[in-house]
């Protein structure tokens, strides 16, 4: 496949990357490329310059604080997260990442990329919202932290501006989490997914049913309470080749119950 002509830069630091993104209106960051390269093949997006983030060590790695808080570099690949000892502080992260695509895609695809593409069928956006992650964004006006539930603004749109970068994902400690999905084939594209957290307030977050993850707060963890809560949302899931809106709506209840059940079991409930 022939991509449109494009420029290429491979900065070694976040500051250099931000400078390059700010200098050129048509510049876009290249993370794992497992979404963007395909998009460019189809010419659905045609950046003028690709700013390759793969050489920026300060955006990689996972640190575990003494209080159990995880700081995840956005250029950490999905495979690296799965293999990470530190990431075991929040086991749901590796469990969900293991369900993404395949080995090759996980070896290049990044945690930050999966989050920032804000594709409604992605795994990590609803998970980040469910576990109460915080996303740190750096730009010319400095750094700011955005809670996950305010980060996803629309399809392919996040709080990260055109000349900004996601620089850190902060995850609080917790083990009472769940995730469930119905996908096209094993580990394929999600038709509907749900991430649940029972660390404190019970919440379940639905993916694939709207432009951004949908937060649902069931009154209790039992199946009926969860279904009632999902039914009470105003979701209008899309219809596409994989599923009708009605089917997604029905599946949303099913995966929400599964995710909540898993989270509640781990909470000892």
């Amino acid at each position: 496949m022939l991509l449109r002509d494009v420029g290429y830069a491979r900065p070694g630091t976040t500051d250099e990357a931000l400078r390059l993104l700010g200098e050129n209106e048509g510049a876009r960051p290249l993370a794992g490329g497992q979404t963007l390269i395909n998009v460019m093949k189809a010419r659905a997006a045609a950046p003028d310059v690709l700013v390759d983030l793969n050489g920026i060590d300060e955006l990689k790695g996972i640190e575990l604080g003494s209080d159990g808080t995880l700081e995840i570099g956005p250029m950490t690949t999905t495979s690296q997260l799965i293999a990470s000892q530190e990431a075991r502080a929040r086991p749901i992260l590796a469990e969900v990442c293991s369900q993404i695509a395949d080995v090759q895609v996980r070896n290049r695809g990044t945690v930050g990329g999966n989050i920032c593409s804000s594709d409604p069928t992605n795994h990590l956006p609803p998970l980040m919202v469910a576990i109460g992650a915080e996303l740190t964004i750096a730009g010319s006006s400095g750094e700011r932290a955005v809670p996950a539930h305010e980060f996803f603004l629309g399809v392919y749109m996040t709080a990260v501006g055109p000349d900004e970068l996601l620089t850190k994902i902060t995850v609080p400690p917790g083990r009472s989490d769940g995730f469930a999905s119905v996908a096209v084939g094993r580990d394929g594209t999600c038709i509907v997914n749900a991430a649940a957290s029972a660390n404190g307030e019970l919440r379940v977050v639905l993916g694939c049913v709207g432009a951004v993850p949908e937060i649902v707060r069931p009154s209790a963890a039992d199946a009926e309470a969860v279904r009632t809560a999902v039914q009470a949302t105003s979701i209008e899931p899309p219809s596409d080749v994989h599923a009708s809106s009605e089917y997604r709506r029905a599946l949303a209840e099913v995966v929400a119950v599964r995710a909540v059940t898993q989270a509640a079991e781990r909470a000892g409930g």
């Binding site: 022939l2 395909n38 690709l50 080995v103």
Partner: protein, 155 residues
């Protein structure tokens, strides 16, 4: 244009590449290493799989410009005068028919066995999950990889 230096199967190549050049096209069209195949072009089929700095990747999903300074292994590097044990196992267990997915399968299997020298059937299936085969139905491929790992295979 970028100037890149890349080692492939032990040979160093220096080339000028356009930024938009996909790695698979550098490998196949510029360097004449046509063992790696273009199957789907969308990163689904895995026929383009190669090992980059020890990591299994789909070469149609990377730019050639991204591999400056890297070391790549392709299917051409597996044999050493004669078929590798893995390749021989593919032949013995009829793990290929048209052969189009085979280079990718071999690279995925190579990567898997390095990380997991005695995989279960389930682990093998997971290891080749990124490789699609239209001919064999996969079972002989799984058997071949299992046999290559020195484990017994039910025939």
């Amino acid at each position: 244009m970028s100037r890149i230096t890349v080692e492939i199967n032990g040979t160093t190549y220096e080339r000028e590449v356009e930024a938009r050049r996909l790695l698979i096209h550098l490998i196949r069209d510029d360097l004449d290493l046509t063992g790696s195949h273009v199957g789907c072009d969308t990163g689904n089929c895995g026929a383009c799989s190669v090992i980059l700095d020890g990591t299994l990747v789909k070469s149609c999903m990377l730019l050639a410009a991204q591999v400056d300074g890297a070391s790549i292994e392709t299917v051409e590097g597996l044999a050493n005068g004669e078929l590798s044990p893995l390749q021989q196992a593919f032949s013995d267990h009829h793990a290929l028919q048209c052969g189009y997915c085979t280079p990718g399968m071999l690279m995925s299997a190579t990567a898997l066995l390095r990380e997991n020298p005695r995989p279960t059937d389930e682990e093998i299936s997971k290891g080749i999950q990124g490789n699609i085969c239209r001919c064999t139905g996969y079972w002989n491929i799984v058997k071949a990889i299992k046999a290559a790992s020195g484990q017994e295979v039910a025939e």
